[in-house]
Amino acid sequence: MPGRIKPKLAVWKFASCDGCQLSLLDCEDELLAVAGAVEIANFPEASRAVVKGPYDVSLVEGSITTAHDAERIHHVRRVSNFLITIGACATAGGIQALRNFKDVRDFTSMVYATPQYIETLNKSTPIVDHVRVDYELHGCPINKHQLVEVLSALLNGRRPNIPSHSVCTECKRHGTVCVMVAHGTPCLGPVTHAGCGALCPSYNRGCYGCYGPMESPNTAALAKGWVQLGAKEPDLLRAFRSYNSYAEAFRRESEDHEEQNH
């Protein structure tokens, strides 16, 4: 687009493993095309150059775990026109949200000799608990093709074409035999957001929910199905408490199985 100012893209990191923002670097073939279409204004993993905000698009990775970060995300929101959260940490608090169900002091005292120096919040929370989010891209980690789709949709002023159905649909499309029906393997696929390409079932394993809950999941019905396959309450509790444990649908379902334990 000659003569037009390129949109500015910024990448921000909070508590996370860096995997989602590295997905952007993994787009080897698309990276240069994206780099040509946008001005990468703030992407510490790739460049020290920082162009001043405001930014047209911000990609936010990671969850909020410190008081400082809880303030910093408001700054990110202020300087961002369109804010996209990427990955399970940013959209659901991530694996570190498992601590939300325990006392954080147990954590610090177990690992560190002088826990009083550790300044951390009790809970690991998703970005949307703190500021308005314009688009959420799920997954642990995100699918790089979905990331490219979201960015190119934005650049071209259209809605991203990201399916909101479950992993089951992906299995059917690939011709993968249902591990739950055919092998009796408990699987989270029926309630999990599509995006991974139904990876685990293609290895004859049950889905373990990396992409978090799909739109309107019927987790209670799935839990009954698991029980019929021999799963016990603690199994259900653990199944819904992994990478997306603090996503509302999974959190509620896990709490149901926790209460029945007592």
Binding site: G19, L22, S23, E28, N42, S47, R48, A49, G94
Partner: protein, 474 residues
């Protein structure tokens, strides 16, 4: 009055890592601290989980080296099952681990460090990045992207995706390798070899211009620790531990990694979340050692592949006995990429790599397991205990970056003493202090993540807390 210089990365590592330099009354650096200030708590929240979930839970520690955690964790589970996994499974895991080392080293060398090496430590920070490299030296940037892609595509081809792949499971791997996938990987080998050879040749030609950095970048005597194969060759998946001293003297060899707790102790400091491991027999004061590419090339008897062994012979001329400057982590990384490519080719050339026998199945036979592998950044130790139900009751992780913690702190002090004096803080000085950290390529997600390419806030603060000077680098 004593003052403190704070190098606080304000974007990516905010709340994660920072550097403080403590000045004495004359403005000379008297102490340097590398702080890690974020907690994710993996060792605690895995309690109560089923042991066989651990490889997938633990791989989430890090998006840069997920495969290392996956493999160390799966090996720990193998120990709990008390099985000897099929040879093909071990070799497939070995291929994946080497691919991981290749892609991670390529990220470190080309994406994070080559801008400093190519464009100079004093270059405009706005241009000192991968895109700057791509503009000034397109062939080199292309080789870097290509090498990382080579490693990542192997991981994807084996494990289904590049970051947090499944596939590696307790007892082996989930699926055998198909001939088609093997051939696709093999087809990429000649190009990958020429890419790394070109880079090595260029690096060796340029090395003379970094004399000052070589002299002052964490260049000091230390011990070196890592895994070696049965004949002392470079081995990153399995093997026994070897410890060499500063003159190349053998301190400990063929040490069973299952006994790590007997010879590795850990101390905590109040100003950082990252613990300080040390070699117990030497005590916490003198027992510090380095791990990672430099350490591995210092401890091995040979790489075990033709071209890497030729390069190793040249590399060894950089030191007497052991190569001591951490600047040469960069050099060692390139040689390890070369070794990784050659070794993958060897492993895939063996027809047995297509065997369908890739998994041993068992119930837990032991209450405790230890799994050790070489991650890109050094020796990685996972250690779990389980109860009767197979639920985790306790976990301990010693991560590669942690082993280097003492060396990094000493290295920053050394570089800061050389380049920093009083209020005279230049951009180039800051780069060098940061670049010392970068030679170790610390993974600070595993303890959080590299002080990579980021803006910095430097504050000179008086002891009473007043701000004397502030330098913001954007």
């Amino acid at each position: 009055m004593g003052r403190q210089i704070l190098i606080d990365p304000v974007t990516r590592l905010e709340g994660h890592a920072k550097i403080t330099l403590h000045l004495d009354d004359e403005g000379a650096v008297e102490a340097a601290h590398f702080h890690v200030t974020q907690l994710r708590g993996f060792e605690k929240f895995c309690e109560g989980r089923r042991f066989f979930e651990m490889p997938y839970l633990m791989s989430r520690i890090c998006g840069i080296c997920p495969v290392s955690h996956l493999i160390a964790s799966a090996k720990t589970c193998d120990a709990i099952l008390a099985v000897s996994i099929p040879e093909t499974a071990a070799n497939l895991r070995r291929v994946m681990n080497l691919a991981q080392i290749i892609q991670s080293h390529a990220l470190s060398f080309f994406y994070l460090s080559s801008p400093d090496l190519l464009l100079g430590m004093e270059a405009d920070p706005g241009e000192r990045n991968l895109f700057g490299v791509a503009a000034a030296h397109p062939a080199l940037a292309h080789d870097g992207v290509g090498l990382r892609q080579f490693g990542q595509q192997i991981i994807e081809s084996l494990g289904g995706r590049r970051i947090h792949p499944g596939w590696v499971v307790p007892g082996g791997v989930a699926e055998p390798l198909t001939a088609e996938r093997r051939d696709r990987i093999l087809a990429g080998i000649p190009e990958a070899l020429s890419r790394v050879q070109r880079t090595l040749d260029w690096f060796k030609r340029t090395i003379e211009s970094f004399r000052e950095e070589i002299r002052t970048f964490a260049n000091f005597p230390s011990m070196f620790l890592g895994l070696v194969g049965p004949n002392g060759e470079l081995e990153t998946y399995d093997g026994k531990l070897r410890l060499r001293g500063e003159t190349g003297n053998l301190i400990h060899d063929q040490l069973d990694p299952q006994r790590y707790a007997e010879f590795i102790g850990e101390v905590s400091e109040p100003w950082t979340y990252m613990k300080f491991p040390y070699y117990k027999p030497a005590g916490s004061e003198h027992g510090f050692y380095r791990v990672g590419p430099l350490a591995r090339l210092n401890i091995v008897s040979r790489c075990g592949t033709t071209r890497a062994d030729q390069e190793l012979a040249e590399f060894r001329e950089m030191g007497r006995g052991a190569v001591l400057s951490s600047f040469h982590y960069h050099y060692a990384r390139l040689i390890e990429i070369l070794h990784g490519i050659e070794r993958i080719e060897e492993l895939l050339a063996d027809p047995k790599i297509l065997s369908k026998d890739v998994r041993a199945v068992a119930e837990p036979n032991r209450r405790e397991g230890i799994g050790v592998a070489e991650a890109p950044r050094g020796t990685l130790i996972h250690h779990y205990k389980i109860d009767d139900e197979g639920l985790i009751t306790w976990a301990n992780l010693i991560i590669a970056t942690g082993h280097n913690n003492m060396a990094m702190n000493r290295g920053i002090l050394q570089a800061a003493r050389h380049y920093v004096s009083g209020d005279q803080i230049s951009e180039g000085m800051l780069n060098r202090v940061e670049a010392v950290i970068r030679t170790f390529d610390p993974c600070l997600s595993c303890s959080t993540h590299a002080v990579g390419q980021m803006p910095m806030l430097v504050q000179v603060v008086a002891r009473d807390g007043t701000l004397v000077r502030e330098l913001r680098r954007n």
